[in-house]
C-alpha cells in the first residue's frame, strides 16, 4: 500500500467521504484510511491505496475530488519537504528522462508567481528531463496549506501550516458539473436539482453501465440524466403528468436528446407511489429521488378526504368526452411519503441495491434517530446540507443481501415514539413567518 493525498473540492464537505466510499465500492478499490484524520476544515485527506492505477480508478468518476497525488512528503515546512524528497529513492531514479511540469499551489492564501518559482527552483536536485507544460510524463506537485478563516482567523499567516509534495496521479471529473449545468439545460422546473449534487447522487447509488434505475418522484428528470450519463437505463414516475410531458417541445425526452442519452432514458409513467401499479419483483438496482415536501413540489396522493379537491357531481372516472378526469388527491405528509418510499424500495430493489434520497429536517431539532431505518436496509451515508433553520440530508441506504444483518436498530421509526422526528415539523417551521435566515424556496427548488 502507498500513501496518496486526496485534494477535494472545498465544497459540499459532508458529501466528500461518502462519495469516496461509494467510489471505492463501485470501482472495487481497496481503500484504507483513518476516519479521524478527516476534517471538513481543509481539502486534504491522506489515504492508502495499492497502486497508482487504483488511485486513478477511485478518482475518475468523482465529482468532489479535484486531484490525487502520490504523496512523498507531508511536513510542517518546505525545508523539511526538501529533505524528505532528497532521501526518497522513488523520486530520484525513475524520472531522469521524463518530461515534466511542476505545479505549485496553495490553499487559504495566494503565493505570487515569483515566490512559486523560487520554491520550485529548490527542487532542482530532482533528476528529470525537459520541461513540458502540456501532457508531460510526470507532474511534480507541491502544495502549501495556510488554513481558512475558520481555522486561523482573518489573515493568512506568513508561513504555511503544512507543506506537501508528491507526484500527480489522477483527477476527478468535475467538468461534468459544467456539462450538466442547469443553466444550459433545455427543460427545467422549479424542482430541478443542480448538476453537482445530482451527479454525486448517481455515485452514491453505485450506478454504472447497465444499471437499472428508477426515480419514483421524477419531476423534470434531473436524476435520470445523471444516472444515464454513467450508463444506467433509467425510468421515472410522477403523480403529475405535466412535469413529465413538459411544454412547448421541452420535456424529459428533449433533455435526453440534448445530452445524447435517448438510448438509456427509457420510460416515464404517471402514478402515485402511495397506490402504485408496479407488479411484484426485485427490479431496480437503484432508486434515486427527491421526495415531495414543498408547496411547489406538491406532496399529494390519491384519495378522498376533507381536504381533497372534490369536483362537483357524481363520481365519474371518465369525462363525457372520454378523457380521464384528474383524480382527487389529499395532502401527503412527509412521514408517510418516507414510509411508503422505503417500503417500496425494500420490495423493488435487488439485494445490494441502493436507495438514495433527500430528507428535509429542522436544523435545531435533528437527531440521528430521525433517519428512518428499515430491517431490510443498512444505512450507508447521511450527508447534511444546511440552509439556515432547516437542512436537507442525502440519505444512502443499501438493501441487505441474503444473510446480511442490519447493523442498527431495526424498525421503521415513527410508531410509539415519544419524540416526533425533526422532519415531522418541517412544513410548520418552513412556512412559519418571520424566520429571517430561511431561504425563500425549499431546497429542492434551489439550483
Amino acid at each position: 500500500m502507498f500513501r496518496y493525498l486526496i485534494i477535494f473540492a472545498h465544497f459540499h464537505m459532508a458529501f466528500r467521504l461518502p462519495e469516496l466510499d461509494s467510489l471505492a465500492a463501485l470501482e472495487q478499490v481497496n481503500l484504507v484510511y483513518d476516519k479521524d484524520a478527516y476534517s471538513d476544515d481543509h481539502p486534504f485527506f491522506i489515504v492508502q491505496l495499492p497502486s497508482d492505477e487504483d488511485a486513478r480508478k477511485l478518482a475518475r468518476r468523482s465529482i468532489l475530488i479535484k486531484d490525487v497525488i502520490r504523496l512523498y512528503a507531508d511536513e510542517p515546512t518546505l525545508e523539511r519537504v526538501l529533505e524528505t524528497a532528497r532521501n526518497t529513492p522513488d523520486l530520484i531514479g525513475p524520472y531522469a528522462n521524463s518530461s515534466f511540469r511542476f505545479d505549485c499551489r496553495a490553499f487559504g492564501s495566494t503565493v505570487e508567481h515569483a515566490d512559486q518559482v523560487a520554491r520550485i527552483e529548490q527542487f532542482a536536485f530532482l533528476p528529470a528531463g525537459d520541461v513540458r507544460l502540456k501532457n508531460p510524463d510526470v507532474i511534480f506537485f507541491y502544495m502549501e496549506d495556510y488554513g481558512t478563516l475558520h481555522t486561523r482567523g482573518h489573515l493568512p499567516p506568513a508561513e504555511p501550516f503544512r507543506c506537501m509534495f508528491g507526484v500527480w496521479v489522477g483527477s476527478g471529473d468535475r467538468q461534468l458539473v459544467n456539462k450538466y449545468d442547469l443553466k444550459k439545460r433545455g427543460y427545467l422546473g422549479t424542482t430541478s436539482m443542480d448538476a453537482e449534487l445530482s451527479l454525486v447522487m448517481a455515485n452514491q447509488a453505485l450506478v454504472r453501465a447497465g444499471s437499472f434505475v428508477l426515480d419514483p418522484f421524477v419531476g423534470t428528470g434531473s436524476f435520470l440524466i445523471t444516472c444515464a450519463h454513467y450508463g444506467a437505463f433509467t425510468m421515472g414516475a410522477d403523480i403529475d403528468g405535466r412535469q413529465i410531458r413538459g411544454k412547448g417541445g421541452k420535456s424529459i425526452d428533449s433533455n435526453a436528446v440534448q445530452y445524447n442519452l435517448t438510448g438509456r432514458v427509457l420510460d416515464t409513467v404517471v402514478c402515485d407511489i402511495a397506490h402504485h401499479p408496479w407488479r411484484e419483483g426485485e427490479i431496480w438496482d437503484a432508486i434515486v429521488c427527491d421526495p415531495p415536501y414543498g408547496v411547489r413540489a406538491g406532496a399529494r396522493k390519491l384519495g378522498k378526504g376533507p381536504k381533497s379537491k372534490v369536483p362537483p357531481g357524481p363520481l365519474v372516472p371518465v369525462k363525457p368526452n372520454g378523457e380521464q378526469r384528474y383524480p382527487q388527491t389529499v395532502p401527503y405528509e412527509l412521514d408517510d411519503v418516507l414510509v411508503d418510499l422505503i417500503a417500496f424500495a425494500a420490495e423493488k430493489l435487488v439485494p445490494g441495491g441502493r436507495l438514495v434520497y433527500w430528507l428535509p429536517t429542522v436544523t435545531d431539532e435533528y437527531t440521528h434517530a430521525d433517519v428512518p431505518l428499515h430491517p431490510r436496509f443498512r444505512l450507508v451515508a447521511n450527508s447534511n446540507q444546511v440552509f439556515g433553520t432547516w437542512c436537507r440530508r442525502l440519505i444512502t441506504m443499501e438493501k441487505l443481501r441474503e444473510g446480511e444483518q442490519a447493523e442498527e436498530v431495526v424498525a421503521i421509526k415513527g410508531e410509539g415514539e415519544a419524540q416526533a422526528p425533526a422532519h415531522a415539523k418541517f412544513r410548520e417551521v418552513y412556512f412559519a413567518p418571520g424566520r429571517g435566515s430561511q431561504p425563500s424556496t425549499p431546497p429542492s427548488e434551489r439550483a
Binding site: 453501465a209 447497465g210 437499472f212 450508463g231 437505463f233 425510468m235 403523480i239 403528468g241 413529465i244 410531458r245 435517448t262 438510448g263 438509456r264 427509457l266 420510460d267 416515464t268 409513467v269 404517471v270 402514478c271 402515485d272 397506490h275 402504485h276 401499479p277 408496479w278 407488479r279 419483483g281 426485485e282 427490479i283 390519491l302 384519495g303 378522498k304 381533497s308 363520481l315 372516472p317 371518465v318 380521464q324 378526469r325 384528474y326 383524480p327 382527487q328
Partner: protein, 122 residues
C-alpha cells in the same frame, strides 16, 4: 411505454379480482420503433425479471415478434438482441391498457401511461 415497462405494470384497483390484474391488455395500439442502447449485461440481468409468457404474448398480439415458447436458458448474443429489440425498442405510443379482471382502462398518451386511479378505486 416500452414493452419492458408494460411487463411490470399491473391493475391496482382495490376491487380487482385477485389473479386477474396482470397482464394488462393493450388495445388500439399505435406503435413506434425507437433506438435504445444495447447492453448485453443489462439484458441478461433483465431476463429473470421479465414475465416471459407475458412478453411473448404481448409481442405476438402487437405483431412485433414471434418469441420462442420458453425463454432461452443460455441466451446467445442473437437471443439477447432479440429480447432487446422487443422489450426496449418497441414503444406503444397511443393505446388503452385494459384490465381483464375489472375492466379498468389505463390510457397511454404520447408514450406515457397514466396509471392513476379515482379515489373510489383505491
Amino acid at each position: 411505454m416500452r414493452l419492458i415497462t408494460h411487463n411490470m405494470l399491473q391493475c391496482h384497483v382495490k376491487a380487482c379480482p385477485p389473479g386477474q390484474s396482470y397482464p394488462l391488455q393493450i388495445r388500439n395500439a399505435e406503435l413506434e420503433a425507437l433506438d435504445a442502447e444495447f447492453n448485453a449485461d443489462f439484458v441478461r440481468r433483465l431476463i429473470p425479471k421479465l414475465d416471459w409468457k407475458v412478453l411473448r404474448s404481448t409481442a405476438f398480439e402487437l405483431g412485433v415478434a414471434q418469441l420462442p415458447e420458453e425463454c432461452p436458458a443460455e441466451p446467445t448474443e442473437d437471443d439477447l438482441q432479440m429480447i432487446h429489440k422487443v422489450a426496449l425498442q418497441t414503444r406503444v405510443k397511443e393505446a388503452e391498457m385494459v384490465c381483464s379482471g375489472c375492466g379498468h382502462v389505463y390510457p397511454i398518451k404520447d408514450g406515457v401511461p397514466n396509471m392513476l386511479l379515482q379515489d373510489h378505486e383505491i
